[in-house]
Symmetry: D2
Subunit: 134 residues, 4 copies
């Protein structure tokens, strides 16, 4: 299991006319935490892309319990619970202090530059294994 926490301050642009964060705007936050998780494992997503690999989202889910508001300081927990074979699943929790605001997950698979789904490259799995075995 590997995990991280990304700290985010809610932007006014992320709110909607209900006065709270628009529901779709939690997904970019998931991605901020996912980017941090990959970088900490030694696999910056930017470098994966430069090397010709993409990790598109195959599925995303989000359950909303409480609302984030403008200027809130929130923490986005991202955790990869199981070592991936083909599909990579990451789970998320968005918290404001002790309060759980949102849970969710995303599922990803590797794709090459031609848009063809491929197995995770070996350097990716090796790096990941080092982090999982810590």
């Amino acid at each position: 299991m590997i995990q991280t926490i990304a700290n985010i301050r809610v932007r006014f642009s992320e709110t909607d006319a209900m006065g709270v964060v628009y529901h779709a705007n939690y997904l970019p936050w998931f991605e901020v935490a996912r980017t941090k998780l990959m970088a900490e494992v030694g696999l910056p997503y930017r470098e994966l892309q430069d090397a010709g690999y993409m990790l598109p989202v195959l599925e995303a889910q989000c359950a909303y319990k409480n609302s984030a508001k403008y200027d809130d300081e929130i923490a986005v927990h991202a955790v990869m619970k199981t070592f991936p074979r083909v599909r990579i699943r990451i789970d998320y929790e968005v918290r404001r202090g002790d309060e759980l605001l949102t849970t969710g997950y995303t599922v990803h698979a590797f794709m090459n530059r031609e848009g063809v789904a491929i197995r995770p490259p070996s350097f990716f799995l090796e790096k990941l294994e080092q982090s999982f075995s810590k």
Copy 2:
């Protein structure tokens, strides 16, 4: 069962650096179709809001099969399959011609101005019943 189709042309602002529509941007499209569905049933969401009712998203899910691209003409199907009791579920399919791009669903519940969850108001259920029984 009630349903509708919203036709949308993909905006450049909705794409990302992978050259396709960013995954979170399908959720606002779901909402465009949901807005149309409610209006056709005689329950414009804007009027519900003016009357003090909100229908926040409790859960959203999206599965991505093929990518939408800039300037694509896509059709977003929205369908309410079962008559709601407390929770309201709507299912979506995003298509480009015959090609299925994305499926998903959202779950909603009524909330009053104070942010308290409430049962769907009777005028809402009555209007909905008329459409379901057609």
Copy 3:
């Protein structure tokens, strides 16, 4: 002078916690009208891109007079007033019925795939000339 009007219905995702459309979200509307203008002139931006040309925004300006709200039907007027040499300027007006909500402009220049600024290609200027001389 060439011009067009794009009709847009305001999405809930485009609003903010002030209850109106977030100021940055007028720029994607400008682009919707710009895309329509180029297509009507016979120069779909999508095809320009496929041919290796990009038209990045060099400058954008927006002046806000009245607020657009959720579900409003608005009209975005786009007009190219002067025949372009190197820089291409388009002016915009966003209206809700008779009411002027926003004015603005964008300035563009051609760029090739390597990201180098270039003069507008001759086929572009010829097509444009046909429309200007109508």
Copy 4:
């Protein structure tokens, strides 16, 4: 003159199909820096809103020189150069290291809860005066 710098890491959601940050997405960054500037002066925008004051954007402008990319660490400088009377102008520079990416400005005015334009409240001007005279 009062000023601040906000550090931002570019999100994938902020990019577009040209592979760089979508032009409209610089405006929310301006707002992040503006929010920080107001907080540092002792006038958190969130508290202004709670007190019934709004500071809508009357005008926004942005000039693009170089492109920000995914995962870039950028610095957004915000500066209020002149002590405001009715209109409040803030200027911005977006930098990546030594490189200037974007310049811009926004103009604001106070509005009360009824949406009526008003003069800046005296507590606002007093606080601001303290910072300007430092």
